[in-house]
């Protein structure tokens, strides 16, 4: 009940307005700033990278292809260079049609992201950091990696091998929808 509450004065009204204005200033500064800080979370659209003619990759061989990743800032310089291991597995029958079959692996080891090297002599990918090893089809062979190499999404367009530009793959954020 308002028997003992004094009637509102100009000062108390002014104080309330000040609090409201202060709160508004804080909120309308914070929201855009937080939006800016967490803007990195938005996913980029898929972009395609041309890796050259599919026929240029000899069957049964694994080649390292490096390219300028379109997922980049204009000032990334040499850090935009990205590598993928491309293996031509020959032809495969899909829906009765013979099509070229490739495996394209991200260069990042699935353990902690170091770049893996392909050794054609033994047919193995090896990681220098902790000795992770993968077979030629990307399956985990030995060492600490928890899974096989990350596959990139690829397609053949007018005889050229194209891949979806790869972001940095991690265990819970691979390059394919099916977590392949």
């Amino acid at each position: 009940m308002s028997e003992s509450t004094p009637p509102p004065t100009r000062r108390s009204f002014f104080a309330i307005i000040t609090y409201l204005m202060g709160a508004a200033a804080a909120v309308f500064t914070a929201i855009p700033f937080l939006g800016y800080l967490f803007g990195a979370l938005r996913k980029p659209e898929a972009q395609w990278v041309d890796l050259g003619a599919a026929a240029g990759f000899p069957v049964g061989e694994t080649r390292l292809v490096t390219f300028d990743n379109p997922i980049r800032e204009p000032w990334d310089g040499m850090t935009a260079q990205t590598g993928v291991h491309v293996r031509n597995k020959g032809e495969r029958i899909v829906d009765g049609v013979s099509k070229p079959d490739f495996d394209v692996f991200a260069i990042n080891c699935t353990h902690l992201g170091c770049p893996v090297t392909w050794f054609p002599q033994s047919g193995l990918f090896m990681c220098p950091c902790h000795g992770g090893v993968y077979y030629e089809n990307g399956d985990h062979a030995s060492g600490p990696p928890p899974r096989g190499l990350y596959h990139c999404v690829w397609q053949i367009e007018e005889g050229n091998l194209r891949i979806q530009a790869p972001h940095l793959p991690t265990l819970q954020d691979t390059l394919t929808k099916k977590d392949a």
Binding site: F38, A40, L41, K43, P44, L64, T66, N69, I71, R72, E73, W75, D76, G77, M78, T79, A80, Q81, T82, G83, I107, N108, H111, L112, G113, C114, P115, V116, T117, F119, Q121, S122, G123, L124, M126, P128, C129, H130, G131, V133, Y135, A141, S142, G143, P144, P145, P146, H167, L168, T170, L171, Q172, D173
Partner: protein, 493 residues
């Protein structure tokens, strides 16, 4: 005339009447005497922080925090800017010295029980300062933006990606986007130059405030027990017999700080700047990133852990450690302060420093990393090859060509440690003594039983190659010794 000028400023700033009482505040007599030398590490840390800020500003006048030019600007500093190499060197050595000094300061405070009542909050703020210092070392390495920094950030991101649920979001926040690039460098630049230094200076101000308000602790004496009920009265009595800080105590601080700076200057001039190592070109395979020295122990710990425990150790263990550090003054608030009466504390310090040293050494030597060019760089030692049959020679060729040397070493006459091969797997110099020919074929074909650190080479080696390889391997034993025999086989006569 100078006095009048100073007086003009002082009468307006009121500097003398505000600051001088703080500087002249009484400290326990013991802290002003020879025991006072134990107290110098905190102020030395602060001196090095000031040196870091000064050298950091110097570097910021030239360093370009852009992914395409950072490396070039560092090369410019190293080779073209006058004394740029020295500024870079000083910044690295002073930063390293500060990290070490903070750790020593923390150890000294812990051993002397100075974190006990009423200085628990001072300790906790100190832990914050320690963590922020480590944050500066880590972000500083990223700014070097060489191949170690680039892949090191990748390793950090891969670890962050394991956080359950929000892993990918944490990765994006860390990298400033979906890839390691310019956004990542800018993010770490803002952290290293603006955010963490601001937090450091703020926390330092609170830390110094607390030191002044609680008073510096007296040197511990066996039998002098901390009892919150009586502590303040006892401390006041100590101060009655005390001496002003401005005097021998402050002189010890100043002396040690000056000595520290001189040592750092010498190291900076003599050893020179750190890196940058290879340029951050991600298409160069074979990169083997290394963290800077304060993190080698964690690198070693993680690399030596079984893979099944990795995610737990990466994500949970550091949190547990940090909470334990904060909890120290809550768990041990009162009681004896002298190290001679606190065997658990002394033992803890010895054990922790030993563990850190051993793990750091392991991280430094990193025997778990295969040597990626050993298969073509390190020939099979001549004394092993001498007198081999043609099949054994073919086997040696197969051994080298299948890249086995990357993980397996071979000792020999005249072979230096750097030419032996990788240490990822066991040394095979005398494997013929340990495994029979059939066991060798089994091991090579199927890898580690049950899955482990050796891959199965069954499909990578043709049958003829496997046969001669087995001949070579079972001949790897000292001359005149018999090959290994399996338990059920009849002994050779």
């Amino acid at each position: 005339m100078w006095k009048a000028l100073l007086l003009w400023f002082d009468s307006r700033l009121r500097f003398t009447e505000t600051v001088m009482p703080m500087v002249k505040h009484p400290i326990p007599a013991g802290a002003a005497g020879p025991m006072g030398w134990w107290y110098v590490f905190g102020s030395a840390s602060m001196t090095l922080l000031i040196l870091q800020i000064v050298t950091g500003i110097g570097l910021a006048l030239v360093y370009v925090p852009s992914a395409d030019m950072a490396y070039e600007s560092l090369e410019y500093l190293n080779y073209q800017a006058p004394l740029g190499w020295f500024l870079r060197s000083l910044h690295y050595w002073s930063g390293s010295a500060m990290t070490l000094m903070v750790a020593i300061h923390m150890t000294q405070v812990f051993l002397h029980g100075s974190y006990k009542y009423p200085r628990e909050l001072t300790w906790m703020v100190g832990v914050v300062l320690f963590l922020l210092t480590l944050g500066m070392m880590f972000s500083g390495q990223v700014l070097r933006w060489d191949t170690d920094a680039y892949w090191g950030v990748g390793v950090g991101a891969s670890m962050a990606g394991r956080v359950p649920g929000v892993g990918p979001q944490v990765v994006h926040l860390l990298l400033g986007g979906p890839v390691i690039g310019g956004d990542t460098l800018s993010r770490f630049f803002a952290l290293h130059v603006f955010v963490i230094p601001a937090l450091l200076l703020g926390a330092l101000a609170v830390h110094l405030w607390l030191v002044l308000k609680c008073g510096i602790s007296a040197p511990p004496a066996p039998g002098q027990v901390v009892d919150p009920k009586t502590y303040h009265a006892e401390y006041e009595k100590e101060l009655e017999k005390g001496e002003p800080f401005l005097g021998p105590a402050m002189m010890k601080d100043a002396f040690f700080s000056a000595l520290t700076v001189l040592v750092v200057l010498f190291l900076a001039a003599y050893v020179g700047p750190k890196g940058p190592s290879a340029p951050p070109d991600p298409s160069l395979a074979g990169a083997n990133p290394r963290p800077d020295w304060p993190f080698l122990w964690l690198f070693g710990l993680l690399s030596l852990s079984p893979p099944s425990m990795e995610t737990f150790i990466i994500l949970v263990f550091p949190v547990v450690l940090i909470l334990a550090l904060f909890a120290v003054p809550l768990v041990s608030r009162r009681g004896e302060r002298a190290p001679s009466r606190r065997p658990v504390a002394v033992l803890a310090v010895i054990v922790i420093w030993t563990i850190l040293s051993v793990l750091s050494y392991e991280g430094y030597t990193s025997p778990w990393s295969p040597i990626m060019d050993a298969w073509s760089k390190d020939p099979v030692p001549t004394n092993i090859i001498k007198g081999s049959s043609p099949r054994e020679l073919q086997g040696a060729l197969v051994f080298q060509n299948k890249n086995c040397r990357n993980c397996h070493a071979l000792h020999g006459e005249g072979v230096t440690p750097g030419e032996r091969g990788g240490t990822r797997g066991p040394d095979l110099t005398n494997v013929g003594l340990r495994l029979t020919r059939n066991q060798l074929i089994d091991q090579v074909s199927n890898g580690t039983p049950g899955g482990g650190n050796m891959p199965a080479y069954g499909k990578q080696v043709r049958p003829a190659e496997m046969a001669v390889l087995a001949d070579f391997l079972s001949n790897l034993r000292p001359p005149g010794t018999d090959p290994a025999i399996a338990a059920g086989d009849p002994p050779k006569n």
